[in-house]
Symmetry: C2
Subunit: 313 residues, 2 copies
């Protein structure tokens, strides 16, 4: 890869599409695609994306490739989308080939959580690790798994769904009839509802807005015992899944990003405590829990990294 090689990274979300030109570790230009309120049919949206790519190509020389991260199930080798979570109508779309055809650039399509994980592993907080698990904590819980210095996609390219893994075989039934799915305990909404209940039990009335992660972080930092206990409970549940990853894969580190990770040590301190308490020495002693380096830009950067690797291969 030449230092002047650039790629376009696209972070395709249910409500926004971010796009950027990436050089090295930096996004040097951003150009979001505006999505009309009535979410258009895939062909129209793909045309809008391709138009934006072509406009960026005119402004920037040396753009070698496109990488596109999508929230759902992709056949990675062919870049064909099987279906997207929360994006109606995106079923069986040959996104890679359509984008390539309309832009003249080689294209790679990847699951969005994997793209974020690749950004952290190649250029971010996980650089240099061979055995690494990256998480994003938000409405849901996403994950990417790196083992033996390789990304793990699995047999159908859907590995890394940490949010669906169970913390209780008798627990709440989740989206796929699966009991005890982690994100049904620690997703943004569930965390807010559980925290509101904890306040009520303590005899304190709180609006749900006062139970946002930011509000609960502020309350815990100010010494509120209810909020501190809520974060401790959150950390204990998350530690269960992280410990399971350790028993299975013995990673060197977890990289944790997403909105909820903005709570910093309000989350990280009890998380490190609970995880250390549940593991034996060889799993625990060298283990690191590290905040993500990238924020919203992780998807764009990870996709651009993949695109340049593919162009070089």
């Amino acid at each position: 890869m030449e230092f002047t090689d650039k790629a376009i990274g696209i972070d395709f979300g249910g409500s926004s599409i971010k796009m950027g030109v990436v050089l090295g570790k930096q996004i040097i230009a951003e150009a979001p695609v505006i999505i009309p309120k009535d979410y258009p049919i895939p062909t129209e949206l793909i045309k809008a994306i391709a138009d934006q790519v072509n406009a960026l190509k005119e402004e920037h020389c040396d753009i070698k490739a496109i990488g596109c991260g999508v929230p759902g199930f992709v056949d990675t080798p062919t870049g064909r989308i099987h279906n997207l979570t929360n994006v109606p109508g995106w079923v069986d779309i040959p996104l890679r080939d359509l984008l390539s055809e309309k832009t003249g650039l080689p294209c790679v399509v990847e699951n969005d959580a994997n793209a974020m994980g690749i950004a952290e592993w190649k250029l971010g907080a996980g650089a240099g690790y061979q055995h690494l698990i990256c998480l994003t904590l938000g409405t849901g819980v996403g994950g990417a798994v790196i083992v033996n210095n390789q990304i793990v996609r699995g047999s159908q390219f859907v590995a890394g769904e940490l949010g669906q893994s169970s913390i209780n075989y008798n627990g709440r039934v989740g989206a796929y009839n699966n009991p005890g799915a982690l994100e049904d305990y620690i997703g943004n909404n569930e965390f807010a509802i559980d925290s509101q209940r904890a306040y009520l039990e303590a005899g304190i009335e709180k609006f749900i807005d006062d139970c946002s992660p930011a509000a609960l972080d502020a309350a815990a930092t100010a010494g509120c015992e209810v909020a501190i206990a809520c974060w401790d409970d959150f950390a204990r549940k998350l530690a269960c899944t992280l410990a399971n990853c350790c028993w299975l894969l013995n990673p060197e580190a977890f990289i944790i990003g997403g909105g909820l990770s903005n709570a910093g040590n309000t989350l990280f301190t009890p998380l490190r405590k609970h995880l250390a308490a549940q593991l034996s020495a060889p799993f625990r002693d060298h283990l690191k829990i590290i905040p993500a380096k990238f924020s919203n830009e992780a998807g764009i950067i990870g996709c651009a990294v993949l695109a340049l690797e593919m162009a070089d291969a």
Copy 2:
């Protein structure tokens, strides 16, 4: 590897040491090491093992290397044992170098569950799979993880401890203060105790001997509803951990061995049912659950495979 190349595989257990000469997929000679009742100090036992290896070397030509599987924590690159579970006194022993020195053969030391997994993956029921998880169900639950066609040892070479992974973040506290460890629910002893309790609740008095896996299999096969329900409960708990492996790694198959797997479809039928019920389509549709090919000989064969690979490298 020449077809005539042979290796010696050693399966080092807490109460027995099995040793065999392996050619291809076959053990062509077995020569267990007798362990005195008062378990001898490591140096004496290593001498007994080396003497047995040297005797086999005299009987068999073309023995290229030794592989030794041990029940515990090994530094794989150096073949140094950190400590062994249930084998007192085996702490910080340079087993690879000591065996090599006393036999003149190159030697590799591996965790025993990994050795069994390698036998299944290279020569057994898991041959041809790139993404595979092997389990042994017995007093404990052991595991080996294959991802991207490579064994996963992890950063400290202790990956694959499926028995310690949690099925309930609020569950029974296990050997390492970890809540809900799988083997504290489905290990041989726990299964027997839970089954005895189920019989009692059904108003049937049973001795603990009638709640061995073999007895419970016979009872379920004969149509006993209590026994059938016990196996269903066993399968539901095991399915929780297997589903977690699927969400994380999206494997093609699970290979299941160990004493409890002798129950065959008494276990496999409810296990397939529960696992399918807890997974979404791309994780479930191509997934296979397969009985192990090898039985007690898996450790010897896996170690011999590793030894020959090392000798060839």
